[in-house]
């Protein structure tokens, strides 16, 4: 079976990015999964065990002394080294901030072809076919690369699958860093770990708030309803721009795309750019005090009413049920 590379991103403190699971699962569908890492220190035994558990048959662990202070290029150097060593049939990379840049550079360096923002991957008659969700989920497009190494960026949260555990055979390498002029990472500020709440990408319930919440204090109403439902918290761009919540909660055209079982929109008008990130949800519920709000055009249940009245009542009723 052909080797399939999966770029495993690690935080500067050594934690596995959540994308690793889906990438290795898809790699196992297509061939023999080879996890690729780029770190300053040797991989710890815990990380090696985790990667084996997630399905890595081999781990191509590249070490660069400057991996924590150099932006992106260590990932590209590790991948290019692994392409040379394993002659893969495809390279899988998360469509994350770092992953997209690494994929683009790798394609130029190796003469590969790119398949971007992919939501699913399958084998069809010996060739790899990718599925893309385009223009806010209005279209599904199948694509492929021919005559070049396919380099695929996978949308976060799109694959909810885990591979079977594999050997996780460790291959430690120290490739020479490329001579490209580098960008320097001066310091990190991590997002606080919110262990109790699910990640927005891939969550089965999402509760989002918009400008209608009116203030950062009031936005906690959105969080309370999310917690009552065990869901993730999202927001419109207007709510992010107003500073009610951090930007990584933005759902929409230029934010996160979600496809949960349940999406609840609170005080969100439903602009086309917001809908582009959530209209593939199974069930959509909206509360808005404007009966003409466009969000009602796509809501399975629309309630014309005030979020400040309704949301506390809903939370009470949910509590009473348990």
């Amino acid at each position: 079976m052909a080797n399939i590379l999966a770029l495993v991103e690690l935080t500067h403190t050594g934690h596995l990015a959540p994308s690793a699971r889906g990438l290795l699962a898809v790699a196992a569908r297509l061939g023999t999964p080879v996890a690729v890492t780029a770190t300053a220190e040797p991989l710890g035994p815990e990380t090696v065990a985790q990667l084996a558990e997630l399905g890595a048959a081999h781990i191509h662990a590249a070490q660069f002394p400057a991996a924590n202070s150099t932006l992106i290029t260590p990932l590209v150097d590790a991948l290019a080294d692994a392409v040379g060593a394993h002659a893969p049939a495809a390279v899988l990379i998360a469509a994350s901030t770092d992953g997209r840049e690494a994929a683009g550079r790798l394609a130029v360096r190796t003469g590969g072809g790119l398949l971007a923002d992919v939501v699913d991957v399958r084998m069809a008659e010996d060739s790899i076919v990718t599925e893309h969700s385009v223009f806010g989920g209005n279209y599904t497009v199948d694509a492929q690369v021919s005559g070049a190494l396919p380099i695929i960026t996978l949308r976060s949260g799109a694959i909810d699958e885990a591979g079977a555990p594999a050997a996780g055979e460790l291959l430690e390498v120290t490739p020479a860093p490329s001579s490209t002029t580098n960008a320097t990472i001066e310091s990190f500020a991590d997002v606080p770990e919110e262990s109790s709440r699910p990640e927005l990408r891939g969550a089965s319930t999402v509760v989002s708030g918009g400008r209608g919440l009116g203030s950062a204090e009031n936005f906690s109403l959105v969080e309370q309803l999310a917690d009552a439902l065990g869901g993730a918290v999202g927001a419109s761009r207007a709510a992010v721009d107003a500073g009610y919540i951090a930007q990584n909660a933005q759902v929409g055209q230029t934010g996160v795309s979600v496809s949960p079982q349940l999406y609840i929109a609170l005080g969100i008008s439903g602009a086309i750019q917001h809908r582009a990130g959530m209209q593939t949800a199974k069930t959509i519920v909206a509360i808005n005090k404007d009966e003409d709000a466009p969000i009602f055009e796509i809501a399975d249940l629309g309630i014309v009413g005030d979020v400040f009245t309704l949301v506390p009542q809903v939370i009470e009723l949910l509590k009473a049920r348990t």
């Binding site: 072809g113 230029t254 249940l301 049920r321």
Partner: protein
Amino acid sequence: MKIVVLIKQVPDTAEERILDPATGRLDREASDAVIDEITERALELALSVKDGDKSTEVVVATMGPKEALKSIRKALSMGADSGIHVLDDGLAGADLVVTASVLAAALRDTGADLFIAGNESTDGRAGMLPAMIAEHLGLPLLGSLVAADISAQSVSGQRATEAGTQDVSAAYPAIVTVTERFAEARFPNFKGILGAKRKPVSTLSAAELGDTGQISSSVLEVSQRPPRTAGAKITDDGNAAAQLVDFLASRRLI
């Protein structure tokens, strides 16, 4: 300082965007073309540097069909000094690999200290072109910035990733990409609109740019999702909270 801004013309996100089912390409007749909002913010960043130091030269560059000249003219009316338009019918349907090598070839000899692009385009959402151009030109890239400090010696900024933010920096020449957290673009004023007509735009064809590689990715199939329809709409008369909870229960969502 010389700054080149990579602007892109895209279908307006405020309207329905149509794909041709046969080719998987955008139906350009179906929607209005505008400058991608993020690249307008990229231009705003460059113009704000020029506001502070009049000797700054701002060039806008784009690869796109004939209509893209409209976007270049708009950028010139906002305050850019000149434009580069890569225009070639042979480039219709170019994939990321070809687009990146064409743009890199067009930008290689501009002598720019700084290139500013958007972090992703609203039509493609690949978020890869600037990194590809950086690799072609051997430049450092500060991608997905939420804040930038462009000084005479170097560029630094804050970069937003899934895991948090990073303070990053690079020496010139460099590429940075901005996110929509940057300031909205200014409007062209009357003087700007008049002046734009006299500003130079150089048009480059693919042939002038040498070998720019082969298209390797292709669309196999396009299918359209049936539009979503509205469900029940109720007005809160004191009972809506209970109805909402019953609705969730009936769909086994709680």
